[in-house]
């Protein structure tokens, strides 16, 4: 009796289960792209002193929309290149997991934009909701995405706490957004490029 067929079968099962459950497509380029967008937006916002709530919301919501559209195109391009279905079960589950926290974040943005002067707390809420979105999506992606979500959630929680204990806390909201949405995405993207040797198939 062949001795390695059982091992081969187990490998095949693992591969099929991963293909069915885990989203891997183009994660590294998507993270790098989102990081570059975040860093560029922070630079533009900081240098142009766009500190009013309206300017802050317009800049960052525009950046988010561009990042989402760009990520969509990157994922679609890779799917087409690999002759795979774009709207695969893992892609669908990741989109569903992201939709609720990102939708609430958008709602909070509009609500804050209408009634508040300073964008500093809005930046913290956006970081928090984005962290929740990454954490939810992380159940259908490699584990690192969930950890990245925790970094966003922990960072936002610390900032909320500091807001509570010291009202005179001063920071530039654009630089804060740039660190979380720019530097952290770039760092995770670089980590994926260096560590993910396998093909990013969904």
């Amino acid at each position: 009796m062949e001795t390695n067929w059982a091992e081969e079968n187990l490998k095949t099962i693992r591969t099929l289960m991963e293909r069915s459950a885990i989203y891997r497509r183009a994660l590294a380029p998507i993270m790098i792209f989102a990081g570059l967008m975040g860093t560029a937006a922070a630079g533009v916002g900081f240098l142009s002193h766009s500190d009013s709530m309206r300017a802050f919301c317009a800049l960052w919501l525009g950046t988010a929309a561009t990042a989402v559209a760009g990520s969509f195109l990157i994922a679609r391009q890779q799917a087409m290149k690999d002759k795979e279905a774009f709207w695969s079960p893992p892609t669908r589950r990741v989109a569903q997991a992201l939709s609720a926290p990102l939708g609430v974040g958008l709602f909070v943005g509009v609500w804050f934009g209408a009634g508040h002067e300073s964008p500093s707390l809005l930046a913290v809420f956006w970081i928090l909701f984005y962290g929740c979105a990454l954490h939810a999506a992380g159940f259908f992606t490699p584990r690192g995405v969930r950890w990245l979500g925790w970094v966003f959630i922990a960072g936002a929680s610390v900032l909320v706490f500091l807001h509570q204990v010291g009202n005179d806390l001063q920071y530039n909201s654009h630089l804060l957004m740039g660190f979380f949405f720019g530097v952290l995405h770039l760092t995770y993207g670089a980590y994926l490029y260096l560590t993910e040797k396998r093909k990013n198939a969904a």
């Binding site: 009796m1 059982a6 091992e7 187990l10 099962i13 099929l16 289960m17 069915s20 459950a21």
Partner: protein, 102 residues
């Protein structure tokens, strides 16, 4: 070598196509017929035959509905199906362990 675990392997699951279907469904709450067909590169007829075999064994349930006015067939593992799949994996692992040189 002890042939016991090999003899216990579920013959219904052990077939290549059915094992692939069970593996995909074990990692996902449900998958549509089209998703399974495209992911596994099977023909409609082949997939239907395997699904029917698994359904007759009580390992798989099939639900028919409509999405955007088009019929949608979704498959999911039943509780006995999950149990049988877990047992199958355990037996494979047992076979691998007993074949490893000490």
């Amino acid at each position: 070598m002890n042939p016991e675990p090999f003899l216990q392997l579920d013959r219904v699951i052990h077939e290549k196509g059915r094992l692939a279907i069970m593996s995909m469904l074990a990692a996902s709450p449900e998958l549509s017929f089209t998703e399974l067909r495209d992911a596994l590169g099977m023909t409609d007829g082949n997939l239907t035959t395997h699904i029917r075999a698994l359904q007759e064994e009580g390992y798989l349930s099939v639900a028919k509905s409509y999405q955007n006015n088009r019929p949608l067939t979704t498959c999911s593992l039943t509780a006995p199906g999950r149990k049988a799949f877990a047992e199958y994996i355990n037996l494979l692992e047992q076979i691998v362990r007993q074949n490893k040189p000490i």
